[in-house]
Symmetry: C4
Subunit: 310 residues, 4 copies
């Protein structure tokens, strides 16, 4: 096996996740990421940290080694893709893609910690960033990122409006409650804590308007503001539904394409399965869409013209 073939193999297994080896490799990397997240959480608890400190350290070194090899392999093999084919120049461009940067930041803090003297606890928490490496493997995260990108403008708008409402509410309560509760409502920034806690309906109850006017103002602002604060959620939820609808349609098109020659071969089915996985559809969902397509009568008459629909 020459170098060319090895690089091609690495690219196909690691980046595309093709074949049995590819799928196993990706599953192993996902497991390691999950174990890393669990490790960071456990390491913060004093008792296990004292007892198993050395093991945690060892696990960290092994993890960083694996992730480093993974990163180097990806950078080395990326030239197999058409997008980054142009040698070292292509590799540099690959290294600046979001996912490659996430891979780099997952290992960089460890190497920095060796040379520079940083607070270890802060460094440890930084390891949590490794969870973003999952985005490469998780269709859920991919779906969420797509939806957020689609609805970015409108979500940003509603967050901006929310900020203005919080500032207005904070100013109002500051003017009203300042004298009754000089500690809690000493300034507008302080009053913003109350405004945010109230308008998001968290309502800890640590700061509450006490004067009658303050209560009336708080009541009005809450009833009116609840709608505004719930806006981003509503917009994202409807964005999710629409994106999923779009993906279902895309899958249906693929099904129709596969059915064009009036038969569904084994390779067709395999392709459809990988398409469903790529689009983040559940197996159940994909099966039902496929079924509804195959059981549909092949010829139907147009409700308007009475002609057959081709």
């Amino acid at each position: 096996m020459n170098t060319r073939t090895l690089r091609q193999l690495t690219y196909q297994r690691l980046e595309i996740g093709a074949g049995r080896t590819g799928r196993l490799l990706n599953a192993a990397l996902m497991l390691l990421i999950a174990l890393n997240v669990a490790g960071v959480i456990l390491e913060s608890v004093p008792a296990p940290q004292r007892t198993y400190g050395l093991w945690f350290r060892l696990f960290e070194i092994v993890s960083v080694a694996v992730f480093s090899v993974e990163y180097l392999a990806r950078v080395w093999a990326c030239t197999e893709s058409e997008r980054f084919a142009s040698g070292w120049q292509g590799r540099l461009r690959y290294m600046l893609t979001p996912m490659a940067l996430v891979d780099l930041f997952a290992i960089l803090p460890f190497y920095l910690g060796v040379f520079i003297n940083v607070d270890t606890r802060f460094l440890r928490a930084l390891r949590l960033m490794r969870v973003f490496k999952l985005a490469r493997h998780s269709t859920a995260m991919d779906l969420l990122l797509t939806v957020i990108r689609n609805e970015a403008a409108i979500v940003a708008s509603s967050l901006f409006i929310m900020l203005i409402i919080i500032i207005m509410a904070a100013s109002g309560i500051y003017l009203i409650e300042r004298e009754a509760q000089p500690d809690a409502f000493q300034s507008i920034p302080q009053a913003m804590w109350w405004a945010a806690v109230t308008l998001t309906t968290v309502g800890y109850g640590d700061v509450i308007p006490l004067t009658v006017l303050g209560k009336v103002f708080g009541l009005v602002i809450t009833v009116a503001g609840v709608g505004m604060v719930a806006l981003p959620a509503g917009i994202l939820a409807s964005g999710f539904s629409q994106e999923l609808l779009k993906r279902r349609t895309e899958y249906q098109l693929k099904v129709k394409e596969s059915l064009a020659d009036d038969s569904l071969s084994r390779s067709d089915l395999r392709e459809l399965r990988s398409k469903a996985l790529e689009l983040g559809l559940s197996q159940e969902d994909a099966r039902m869409l496929l079924q509804s397509e195959t059981t549909r009568p092949s010829a139907a008459t147009c409700p308007h013209c009475g002609k057959e629909i081709s």
Copy 2:
């Protein structure tokens, strides 16, 4: 009446709920389940437990007896269905269906409690599982399960993302508040309690960031995270609407079918009513759908071709 006929009758009355006897039988079983749930709740209150303990015990024995007979009858009669027709082999397959397992787990703890020495209070709470027996009778539960199955992938995705956000929020507040409140934010798992209580907007107020930086972080994480946490609700709600729309369309198709011979006989109406019940539509809803179908003008022109729509 020979055995064959009796089994057929049992199947039709119990499993299908056909005829007046079938409907009465099903209603009686639902009532018994509801009484069982009420019983478990009441039995946990000390006063009635002391006074009426014997009656509770008696009611439990009668209930288990009835449910046992029901379970055996179902297993015995299931071979009448085409799916489980193949004798004892079919019966075994039936016993592994989700609903049959629910039926089994509804009575098993009682028999176990006779032989093994288990905490009676834990055993009593297990009886609450009987509420899932309702799924067989309740179109509401059936509808919910359908929606959850349809939207499983996307709801799982958003729950997973929510978990990541909670972990991130917990790590952040742990780093910030650890020194100011060593008791409440001693470790990331402990900080996750604050993160979950805040991001779901429950906001008990037992743990609150006290430092300025902690408050700013809490404020930002809350405003940004509220949208994420409300996602599953929004997705399920839109899934509910879509499922109901689908069922309404299905009912309308049934209505059109019944109207194909230009008249609506009594048996047509009875069929439509049972269809509406099966689909979980309200009587009001079904009536309106039927009306809108019957009062529609029989001939209309196509907006495209100008021809009459047949």
Copy 3:
């Protein structure tokens, strides 16, 4: 003017709200209802009750007198409607309509209070029921009632499921926290208070799980349950949108009808305005719908066939 004419006039003014007198009469009745609600609220405050008690009493007597006359007039005049045309038999049927019953219950407590000795404070609160009289005048309430009726089955289902989730959560926390907090989690009914306060995300903070297992259970139940509890809201909101869409379409049809003779006369406009009012559309909304209809090109070609759309 003979009796026949007077009854017709009463019916048209009071029930239909036709003409200037009718509109004034309805506005006056709405104002009186609003004042009654304000009165009940104010009367509960000790200070004004002591000072103006007599005036409150007087206002109550006048209100009941007016509402009694209104009720009698409605019952007397209802025979003008086709639905209740058959004399006293029709009147009886009218008296059993929901709105007539609301009118009756709005005055009945007063007359009962004269004869029977009831707690006056309870009687006073009952007067608040008069707010339902507004349903006759308010398109908002009418819209809400329509939506609730449309979505009744599905909202009832989700409320039922919510109840089951609350019972399950209460049983779980009862088993876990019973020994750590015997006061707060003494029985399942008591634990239901915690479950309901948590799952609706109200989160008072008066009862909180203290054990680690209880906190983990509480966290899981909250994250999973939040979606369920927000379901009715989501379903109602989407029902509202759909109902409004239906009403807009209905209005557009009316506009098209008015435009059939290629001109929009003054009486057409008046009719459209009253239609918009009846359907609960805002003036702005109605104006825009009308505009979009009138500025549309009168002839367009079908995107499919290339023929003109008639």
Copy 4:
């Protein structure tokens, strides 16, 4: 350059924001507004206020000077617009438009403060109103205002219904808890604080029903009422989605128009970009809409007639 030309230039730069100067001018004004808001918030904190009080005062004078010049320039130049072309009469009409009034109220308090002796802290908070000047520059605010106008009738309805539910809940809890907690539930207006805090799910926990009946009532009202209170949010969110859909369609129409001559010139692209900005679409969104339009196959067959779609 004569006066006529200068006025035209002022109008184009300031009101339309045309050209590089126009864009810079608008950006500078937005920055000044943002700095003003930040200034009001900071000035409320005692420490910086004591140290930099003079600088805050100076910044306020400069801001008012700039806003005054801006206001006068707008009023002077508005006659360039066709709507307000008729000299001083047109200027008066312009001064009564909502945005011109906002501009006036942004500077008026300062001049009033010079002549009349008002509480400076109240006057300072009034400056926050300047944030509404952003509405002229922000497509987000413009979008929100459009949605609120579209859904005004239905949101007002649901707010009205919410008020009735709060009054009902307050009356109920007042009757039940009055004797157990005479301080917190002394009157219906006081009980409304509990009702609003509970039904909006804020749940501070400062006032809680203590009697068993009160808890049962609180539980029922919360579970049932949560849906009602979340209605405005749901309605606004779906309104947002619909408005955005409408704007995307409008953008697509513009794209189709630009593509009518089968090529996309540079001036076409510039026009499309400014259209996207005007409609509040994100760059990403606009790019995708454009792409989907240009890559669509030029000929497709109609599903009904089998003819090519022109």
